[in-house]
């Protein structure tokens, strides 16, 4: 059964970020990429990326006419990196984590934004730095992916 276009984009995002795991090109040292299930099933760890799908938004001005018409949508993904360093280290790696995530997302530089031809464009959102009282710190790098599908079928791309 074919995947919906949004699912294919999701898989492309996960796959690209998984390239960071144990890759020396990235200073931060990501250990795993997690996509949470309905009941969690993961434990927070240092240098862990958690991908959470956010809100969807209609972008009517990017629709195209036809039979069926092409319907444009903007989907947000929140890419969160947990940071739980040795409490005796005094380490603060939030900026490094954000920089490495951005470097990974924008590779390859010329075509990173279309996720293998599935999307029209991708915007990098406002980076959020998370510091919780005594708990895990982290950084959230949101991305907003603009894509278009057939009105009758979210499984058909209409780039």
């Amino acid at each position: 059964m074919p995947l919906a276009i949004v699912d294919q984009i999701h898989d492309a995002i996960v796959s690209r970020l998984e390239a960071m795991v144990n890759d020396d090109d990235y200073e931060i040292g990501i250990i795993e990429v997690v996509v949470p299930t309905r009941i969690g099933e993961f434990t927070p760890r240092d240098r862990q990326i958690v991908i959470v799908q956010g809100d969807d938004e209609r972008v009517a001005e990017m629709d195209i006419p036809g039979n069926p018409p092409g319907v444009a949508r903007k989907q947000t993904w929140n890419i969160r990196c947990h940071l739980m360093p040795d409490e005796n280290s005094g380490e603060d790696a939030v900026n490094q984590a954000a920089a490495d995530i951005l470097k990974c997302l924008t590779t390859p530089n010329s075509t990173w934004h279309n996720w293998g031809g599935l999307a029209i464009n991708t915007e990098l959102g406002r980076i959020e730095y998370v510091s919780f009282d005594g708990g895990p710190d982290g950084v959230n790098v949101p991305i907003h992916v603009l894509y278009r599908v057939s009105e009758y079928s979210p499984f058909v791309s209409r780039i």
């Binding site: 949470p36 009941i39 434990t43 927070p44 240092d46 969160r80 739980m84 005594g134 982290g138 959230n140």
Partner: protein, 115 residues
């Protein structure tokens, strides 16, 4: 034995007694070392991770003696990597869960949040 000493002793032998409400768990330190200790594991409902905003994971409140042999001492605890292994649901397989927060402690007991 003073009352102070008696309370500290009771933390191990009474409050963390495996014949009553405590259970055997494995404490994994960040440096790779581990040991088996007794702990009272309170299996809370699922909760939103505030640092994630959207993810939901089970939350565990774990009570251990403040002791570097029979529990976890407050000066050895490292919430940057220490983990506890126990069954997430009674009867299911044991899993490692990160200690994410030291909720409270005194000379006798530590109360930890695991997720």
């Amino acid at each position: 034995m003073t009352l102070h000493d008696a309370i500290r002793s009771d933390a191990v032998s009474v409050f963390c007694n495996a014949d009553d409400f405590a259970e055997s768990v494995v404490y994994y330190k960040r440096n790779g070392l581990s040991r088996t200790i007794n702990a009272v594991v309170i299996r809370e409902a699922f909760a939103i991770n505030p640092e994630d905003g959207d993810t939901i994971t089970p939350v565990f409140e774990v009570h251990v003696a403040n002791d570097d042999t029979d529990g976890i001492s407050s000066d050895e605890l490292n919430i940057g990597g220490d983990m506890l292994a126990f069954a997430v649901r009674v009867g299911k397989a044991v899993e490692r869960r990160s200690i994410v927060r030291l909720m409270s402690h005194d000379e006798g007991m530590l109360v930890l949040e695991c997720r």
